[in-house]
Symmetry: C2
Subunit: 248 residues, 2 copies
Amino acid sequence: MNQFFIEPSAVAEGKITITGEDVNHIVNVLRMRKGESLSLVESVSGLTYFADIESMDQDGVVCVIQDVQSESRELPVKVTIYQGMPKSDKLEFVIQKSVEMGAARIVPVAMKRSVVKLDQSKTAKKCARWNSIAESAASQSKRGVIPEVTEPMSLKEAIKDAESCDAILLPYELAEGIDETRKILTEIRDSGTDSIAVFIGPEGGFDESEVKEITDAGGRIITLGNRILRTETAPIAILAWLTYLFEK
Amino acid sequence: MNQFFIEPSAVAEGKITITGEDVNHIVNVLRMRKGESLSLVESVSGLTYFADIESMDQDGVVCVIQDVQSESRELPVKVTIYQGMPKSDKLEFVIQKSVEMGAARIVPVAMKRSVVKLDQSKTAKKCARWNSIAESAASQSKRGVIPEVTEPMSLKEAIKDAESCDAILLPYELAEGIDETRKILTEIRDSGTDSIAVFIGPEGGFDESEVKEITDAGGRIITLGNRILRTETAPIAILAWLTYLFEK
């Protein structure tokens, strides 16, 4: 069934009115007809509505709600990936895969060893592109929420941002070994944590001074195993681990 | 330090003789000189030798062993990924990432819903390319062993091949929920398993008859969480879980 995201305001009195770009897609691309069914995800609550098309024109598609599914596909812990800015295609990959694996939010971070320096004048355009990648990945993996990709932050800004999370993790090659990592992660889970910040180094890794800044802010160093992972693989691995530990 | 793979026969009496294509790379591309150090991984044992160049010409580079590191970067369980044939670029991605995440072996499997039908006459050439992707991924993640990518198998052949493993896993959307999956995985770990086969469906998923064939052969159905993963993301996720569970 085709799935679209809707705003909370689209839902009223047992009906849902789809407006904007999706109308053209439903009417002219998919050529859907009255009576056909759609799956409509309300992007704030994550509720999924199953609804049949009642009427349609170029301005809007009105659907009648048949069923609501409240079963959430969301990870029970909100994970923000603070990704040390890698090359452009890798960042897009990180966004796509992190969304697929359940991340709540992605923050590109300018780090000392980041090769790409972002041109300030292009930031808004890039950021719009990143968010559209997040939206289509969310839709493809049938998630009920579209994770936000923020504009790039400096490390200082990112750390300040991360301090609102219950825990901060830092996968780093000089970690103490996997037993200690397992201890840290289960401790975080068992303490009822509901938000986690994860800092990922760029291609060249963290600068030591950056590791210090993050640990000074409460970041805990962990290992992701005995093999060296690329910067774009590390967020997938940690999201998989957090899924294993937190999913219900 | 530059790393190369060597055969066991290259090691003799405290010295290592590098031959073949790597010689040109060391002499003419890297322009290394006498006295410089290399990291040489013996591809069967996984031992890493640190050695200094003693002499070199176009036929070979002779190095004197300075140190041997036996610390293994290998996952303590041998995981074979039986990947339902996806589109060509996705298979290359699966090979690269599975090697990075610690897979021991990758077997492309022709499944009912595989879109790509492999042209028999091109198999050998493709397979050589896949193995070279595996080699460079192994080198980049500093692994001591180069995982083999086999020629594509039919599902029947793949199941027969997988029966030599201690356990067979099957991530499938109709699994019973993550608690049951966690039970299955910890049970497998605690029973001293040292080899696991994982079957991954292609883009269109498994056909029901294929699921039956694999479970009839002892395959156990698991979930990878509440979100729908793409075929090329699933092997990374399960390898991450097995790393979390088995790594020492």
